[in-house]
Each structure stands twice: as C-alpha cells, then as structure tokens.
C-alpha cells in the first residue's frame, strides 16, 4: 500500500476535516474567553468590512486600477490581521504588494486564493462563535 494511506482511503467528508482551521489571533481568543457579545459584534463588523473591500478589489481589477486595488487590499489586510496571521492575511498582503507594483495580472491570479482563505476564516470564526456561545450558556 502506497503512502499516504489515510488520504487515499478517507471518505470525502473526512478529507474536509483534514484541512485545519486557520490559526486565530490571540486578540480574538482573548475576547472569546469572556466577552461573547463583543466577539459577535467584531465578527459582524469584520464580515461587513470584508464584503466592502472584496467588492472594491473586484472593481479595481475590472477597471485595471492598481492604486484602488492596493488601497482596498490594505484595508482588507488590516481587518483580517485582527483575526489571523495565516493564509488569508498573507494573501491580502500579497495582493496589496501586487497592487503597489502595478501587477494586475499577478493580482488576478492571487485573488481566488484570497477568497478561498477568507471563506475558511469565516468558517473558523463561525465555529468559535458557536463554541463561545455554548460555553457562555453553560456558565
């Protein structure tokens, strides 16, 4: 049997579980401990901000505006950085740098990766909210 055995034998659902959640920042974890309403409010704000900046990035790519791309990616990076320093943050940073260098083709290639990583981050934050909420219900 060739390696990796687990990957070849695991059903599709388990395959999804093998992808770990992005590491959440110490700030978020600190607030998740005792301030559940604040955590919910922050995630709500973050999702609004993400939506706005993703729209701005798509528009900048359509218009071919590197400066708008850089500006939107910078704001997105700042917002993402509050929650994680992992792939989503790095993708936003890469997009900001590509915008700064005027490399719109490179940015177009990186953008789907950013969207994918943001989806994973949203999922992880959703799980954290559920976990914090149930912990608070128990206390």
């Amino acid at each position: 049997v060739g390696k990796p055995v687990r990957d070849r034998l695991a059903p599709a659902e388990d395959q999804e579980k093998l992808v770990p959640d992005p590491a959440l920042s110490a700030c978020v974890l600190a607030l998740a401990g005792g301030r559940f309403p604040v955590l919910q409010e922050l995630i709500q704000l973050f999702e609004e901000e993400c939506g706005e900046q993703l729209t701005a990035i798509r528009q900048a790519l359509r218009e071919g505006s590197a400066s708008k791309l850089r500006s939107a990616a910078h704001l997105l990076r700042g917002a993402v950085g509050n929650f994680t320093e992992s792939a989503a943050y790095q993708s936003a940073r890469a997009l900001e740098l590509l915008g700064g260098n005027g490399d719109l083709a490179g940015a177009t290639a990186v953008f789907p990766e950013l969207e994918q990583e943001l989806d994973r981050l949203h999922t992880a934050l959703g799980r954290l909210v559920q976990k914090s909420g149930s912990t608070q219900d128990q206390t």
Binding site: A26, L31, V38, L42, E49, H74, G78, N82, T84
Partner: protein
Amino acid sequence: MKILVADDDRVTCRMLEALLAEWGHEAVGARDGARAWEFLQAADGPRIAILDWLMPHLDGLEVCRKVRALSTRQPPYLILLTVKGSRSDIVAGLRGGADDYLTKPFDPEELRARLQTGQRIVGLQRILADQVSDLEKALARVQQLQGLLPICCYCKSIRDDQNYWQEVESYISAHSQARFSHGVCPSCFQRVVETELKDVVHRQELPHAGSGR
C-alpha cells in the same frame, strides 16, 4: 486610565476598545488623525494614545509631530500601532515623536505590557511636573525679595506694591518664609538700653535729692 484609540479601520478600533475595557481602561475612539489631534489637545485629554499610522486627514506620524511641538509639561505617551513594519518605518516613527512602536497584527499581552510602561512614564511625568510647579512657586516667593525696595530713611518702613508703608518685619514675613524673634544687639544695648537704664537710675535718685530740701 483614559486611552485614545485612533484607527480608520473600524474592526481594529472596536477590538482595541474591547481589550482596553477588559483591562480596566476607558477607551476614546477616533477614526481619523484630525479627530485624534483634537482629543490630544484638550486639557483633560487622554494621557496615552494608540495611533495608527495610515489614517485620513492627518496621519499618525503627523499627529506625533504636532504633539511633540506642543510645549506642555505632561505630554501624552504615544504608541504607533501600524502595519508598516520595516526598520526604516520604525526609525521614522520613533524619530517623529512616537514613544513606542508596535506592528499589526499585534499580540494583546504585548500591547498590555507596553501600555503599563506608558502608564509608568505618564505617572513619573506627573510627579515631575508637580515638583517643578512647587519649585516655581518657591522661586517666585524668593524673587519677591529681590530688586529695589523703597525704604524710609528714618523709621525703615518699606513701601509695598500697593503703596502701603509696612514695618520691615511684617514686609519680610509677608514675602518670605522668614519669621522674627526679637532681641537686642550689643551695640544697641550699649547705645539705647544702657542709656535708658542710666536715665531710670538718675530719675530714681532725683526725688531723694529733692526730699532732703
């Protein structure tokens, strides 16, 4: 302690406010540099500020420069919290007037520790400012006894700022910490007291001389 949070990113701003509240501080939020500058100029403004660098209207570095140009004895403690993390950025930030520099994403415990340093510095500045103020008051009292004093040639009274003539003792007592105890110097004893004593003895002898007649 009242702490200013200035950041155009509403998520960062809210997160900092929540963390500061968790640590027992009162957070004051500003979404641009101009508003931050307004807060920092107020007499009862925050003594510590966490400033983003890239902000609309006035950036964080400009806010630092403006604060440092103020002539105040108790300047606020300024922490730049920014995504700009290159060595040249850090040098420019600190040279521009920031007391401390932290890059985003930040660790909450590191920020908390740096805020404690800021509180310590602000406390020391307050003590120093109070001591300087006390010294200035003392110096002002000493200076009141310097300069040209109009004094009466005969009775030695001194004319004060309100054009009243005061005895030397009361004038000096009013303008300094000095107090007087009264005595007689040897020269005055010889000139005044001995003379008066002789007069008294002389007066006592006169009635005897008169009664013999």
